[in-house]
């Protein structure tokens, strides 16, 4: 195993359509170190979700090389080197919370006793210990998303892929889950690739923010946040935080933003 969680060089993706080929991604160069938190941000159609799906081997790149912990993406998927969470929680409605969390373990033949203890551990981690026997339709959207995160972590992956997991949640739930996610990422020391279209979310969570741009989808800028390991509520009010938010916003717009309400 290398110390690179993700290594992409010259990665491109072309979708064939009836009216010709659509270039979704072109020439992506991206390294994610083990334990690093990287956000992909950009407007719709910039290929951020496509890039995540390539890393997860849910789609295949049409050019370039993509390695996860030094292996081809397909191998990494089969070896369960990553866990993934989507914008929709995607829980199986006929399974309890516990059985949903245990799904990846069950698929790989983990024994019942081990599953039960792992589920208890994960439910504790995401704060749902009292809900293990409930069904998904008895949970709020935020709780469902926590179950999805616990499921992604079930096989102890060293890489966590997240495709706008908080996109459908209200702002307060969202901020609480962001804080929890930074804690979980630190506790599990997993690398995270996080797709979002929220600038504050990307800055708050990440070590590096990868800014992408559409037509064709590509990486236009990478911003180090340098905000350190402690991500708490005080950080959201700090000048450094606003500074990085401005930097990401300017990178997204391509020009310095004029501050109309500067006081």
């Amino acid at each position: 195993m290398t110390d690179r969680a993700v290594q992409a060089s010259g990665v491109g993706k072309v979708f064939p359509t009836k009216t010709g080929e659509v270039v979704a991604l072109t020439d992506v160069e991206l390294d994610v170190a083990a334990g690093e938190f990287v956000s992909l941000i950009g407007p719709s159609g910039c290929g951020k979700s496509t890039l995540l799906r390539l890393i997860a081997d849910l789609d295949q790149a049409t050019s370039g090389t993509l390695e996860i912990f030094g292996k081809p993406a397909k191998r990494a998927r089969i070896d369960q080197d990553y866990g993934i969470a989507f914008q929709q929680a995607g829980l199986l409605p006929w399974r309890t919370v516990g059985a949903n969390i245990a799904l990846p373990l069950e698929l790989h033949g983990t024994g019942r006793a081990d599953r039960v203890s792992r589920v208890a551990e994960l439910a504790e981690l995401v704060g749902l210990s009292d809900f293990v026997d409930r069904y998904p339709d008895q949970l709020s959207g935020g709780m469902q998303q926590r179950v999805a995160i616990a499921r992604a972590l079930a096989a102890r992956p060293k890489l966590l892929l997240m495709d706008e997991p908080f996109g459908a949640l209200d702002e307060m739930t969202r901020e609480r889950l962001q804080s929890e996610l930074t804690r979980i990422a630190a506790e599990t020391s997993a690398a995270v690739v996080f797709v979002t279209h929220s600038i504050p979310e990307a800055v708050f969570l990440s070590d590096r923010v990868v800014v992408m741009s559409p037509r064709p989808g590509r990486i236009t800028d990478v911003i180090e946040t340098g905000l350190g390991d402690v991500r708490d509520e005080a950080l959201r009010e700090s000048p450094e935080f606003f500074d990085r938010v401005t930097a990401v916003r300017e990178a997204l717009h391509g020009t310095p933003v004029t501050r109309a309400s500067e006081s």
Binding site: L92, P93, P104, L107
Partner: protein, 279 residues
């Protein structure tokens, strides 16, 4: 092709289940009224019926009083029960065999496009012909003493709704669920067992509920076209012809009871299966 057949059958299970939500401006009925109302309607109909037959005495001769029918039903219950067993057994065999065949073929059609292409016109053809129409042919083929013709008719009748619904259900998996299974490196068999099959289960149950009534109707009506001299349908035809109206109606009551039992059992199964419908 199969979609055309689907539209002819009651809709697929609705998520959530339970009582339908009232339309805006329509108030939900209180719980007690929901079962009192049909009972009141039933009693009213019986009252009018009794008044017409027993008080006015102007009813046709083949329409006896419900009291006479009930008396006949109680008095002849042992022989009615014997005939009920015959018809119910034929319907049950048809329902079970037809459903198993439908499951098998729907699975094949969902797995392989060419199979779907081969089966679709056949199923459409089966769905549009009145199945009981072939009963005289089957009776002649398998002999007048065999129940096989009747069971075959019930089988074909049960096959169609189960096939159409299961095939539809097997195609209802959501993209996000497929992504979850794929990212967990599930094998095709695991994906089928843990995702495709549970997703299709409510559809199977809806198919079974529709098929249960059709199987009873088919088994009963098939008896009008010959075969052994037993079963509810045969008895109704015999006693209607010989003018024993009350006994004929008592047998009709027996037929209704069979249909009700089949319907209630499959409805219960359906309700259990749709308890956790997709979020």
């Amino acid at each position: 092709m199969t979609d055309a057949a689907t539209t002819m059958l009651p809709a697929a299970p609705k998520p959530g289940g339970g009582a339908p939500r009232p339309a805006p401006g329509e108030r939900e009925l209180p719980g007690w009224l929901r079962w009192v109302a049909p009972v009141v309607v039933g009693i009213l109909i019986l009252a009018v019926w009794i008044f017409w037959v027993d008080v006015l005495g102007t009813a046709p001769r083949m329409l006896p009083s419900p009291i006479a029918i009930a008396e006949e039903f109680v008095r002849r219950f042992p022989i009615i029960l014997d005939d009920m067993k015959i018809t119910a057994t034929n319907a049950l065999i048809g329902l079970v065999v037809g459903s198993l065949l439908a499951l098998l073929f729907a699975g094949l059609a969902a797995a392989a496009k060419p199979v779907d292409g081969m089966l679709a016109p056949l199923v459409s053809a089966l769905a549009v012909i009145p199945i009981v129409a072939v009963t005289p042919i089957l009776n002649t083929m398998f002999g007048a003493s065999s129940q096989f013709g009747r069971q075959a008719v019930a089988t074909i009748a049960a096959f169609i709704p189960v096939f159409v619904n299961v095939l539809r259900g097997l195609r209802q998996t959501r993209p996000v669920h497929r992504d979850v299974l794929r990212s967990s490196a599930a094998s095709p068999w695991q994906t089928f067992r843990m995702l495709t099959l549970p997703t299709a289960l409510p559809y199977l149950m809806t198919g079974l509920r529709i098929a249960s009534s059709l199987a009873v109707i088919a088994a009963l009506v098939a008896e009008y076209f010959g075969g052994p001299a037993d079963g509810i349908g045969t008895a109704i035809a015999t006693y209607a012809k010989s003018g024993r109206a009350a006994l004929a109606w008592a047998y009709v009551l027996g037929g209704i009871l069979i249909g009700l039992v089949f319907f209630l059992v499959t409805s219960l199964l359906e309700r259990l299966a749709t308890r956790r419908s997709p979020v």
